[in-house]
Assembly symmetry: C2
Homo-oligomer: 209 residues x 2
DNA sequence: GTATGTGAAACCGTTCACAGCA
DNA sequence: TGCTGTGAACGGTTTCACATAC
């Protein structure tokens, strides 16, 4: 691995490459060139080579990349070889969907706990998880070795949920609430905000009306 | 409006500004400086001024921006003054959550139709919408004046769903399936892919293990 | 011959710094 | 005086182009 600073966006693309390489593998493709993969992923071939170049040399000149091997290497780089333990806070519409989201399990992510404010929801079973009260968070997060907290609670309560997670010793947060969370700098926060994505789409449609 | 090319990322930030300005307005704040808003949004003050500068002059030198007025202007720029009509395909876990997602309605987005492959789900009511078979798509999209198609169906069927939407005359797609859709270039596609976001989080956690 | 790996160049977005104006 | 609006400087990412290796 090089000591150069690696652009975050390059890391995000690795995830895209891994997924499409896995599809190629399923189809029985054994070797692919950067041009071939670039075509599938909708990016520039040089970009793929440069992105991979941040982490090592995985190809063979004049040939390309061995698909199986490259998937393995990228998953290793991203840290996806291990099983990641997630906990959810906010078992509403979106939260329930995330608990049952098949895609997560396929990739090695497992929800091991879920928390709620609303007493009516506590005790229910959603996707093999029994919904617990937020006050149980500190204990359960430690007990179950949760590493990543997922916030799918309303914006009004998202910051409190984040604070609770931080207090319980979580290392990263995936935040679906449309708010800017205030967190200690050693904690990693990634935001998913599809209202903003939808707004951007509307801008484009309005522009080319 | 300037004729310079406007960075897509600047447009995405406008959405962030609008949301935080609306919150300020709710709190009774009437005027805000770029520095004040930048603080809330977690960006550089100059960036806010530059982003706004792409679209006009909305502030008063020595004073700042009138909150109400700026919200209005940004929403106008983004095309959020009108009601947007959405249709969903894929009424599974995620799809159902989207149909019931309160945040959408607040912002002027309305689902007017929902489609499914699975016969067991057809005819059900989800968030005031009756789930229809995919074969009804062409007719209903036209009948109800749907402008944006939302894809929350499995990756295996996402491309087909997109083709159907295109055939029915949709103008934009919000795609939650983790695949690169092949679409005509005059169609606008925005992707929401939280598995990739989660992968990026894992990379960070692995790096600082 | 062919495709990778990688410096160099081009490009784009962000931040600075200050002129302009209330 | 204070803050906006904006050209210029800066920094980072993308793309090019070619030496290198199979």
């Amino acid at each position: 691995m090089k000591s150069v600073n690696i652009p975050a966006i390059a890391v995000t693309r690795l995830s895209l490459y891994a997924r499409n390489l896995a599809l190629l593998d399923q189809k029985g493709v054994e070797v692919v060139s950067s041009a071939g993969l670039a075509d599938i992923c909708g990016v520039n071939p040089a970009q793929i080579r440069k992105d991979l170049g941040y982490f090592g040399q995985f190809g063979i000149r004049g040939v390309g990349y061995y698909v199986k091997e490259l998937v393995y290497e990228i998953r290793k780089i991203l840290g996806l070889e291990k099983e990641w333990r997630l906990a959810l806070v906010g078992v509403g519409n979106l939260g329930s969907a995330l608990l049952r989201h098949a895609q997560f399990l396929d990739q090695g992510y497992t929800f091991v706990a879920a928390f709620e404010r609303d007493p009516k929801r506590i005790g229910k079973e959603v996707g093999n998880i029994t919904v617990a009260p937020i006050r149980a968070m500190n204990r359960l997060v430690k007990e179950k070795g949760v590493e990543i907290g997922v916030i799918a609670i309303g914006p009004r309560w998202a910051q409190q949920a984040a604070d609770k997670f931080v207090g319980a010793g979580i290392r990263g947060i995936l935040n679906f609430a449309p708010v800017q969370l205030q967190c200690p700098s050693d904690l990693h926060v990634e935001n998913v905000d599809f209202t903003r994505t939808l707004d951007r789409l509307c801008y484009q449609l309005t522009l080319n009306a």
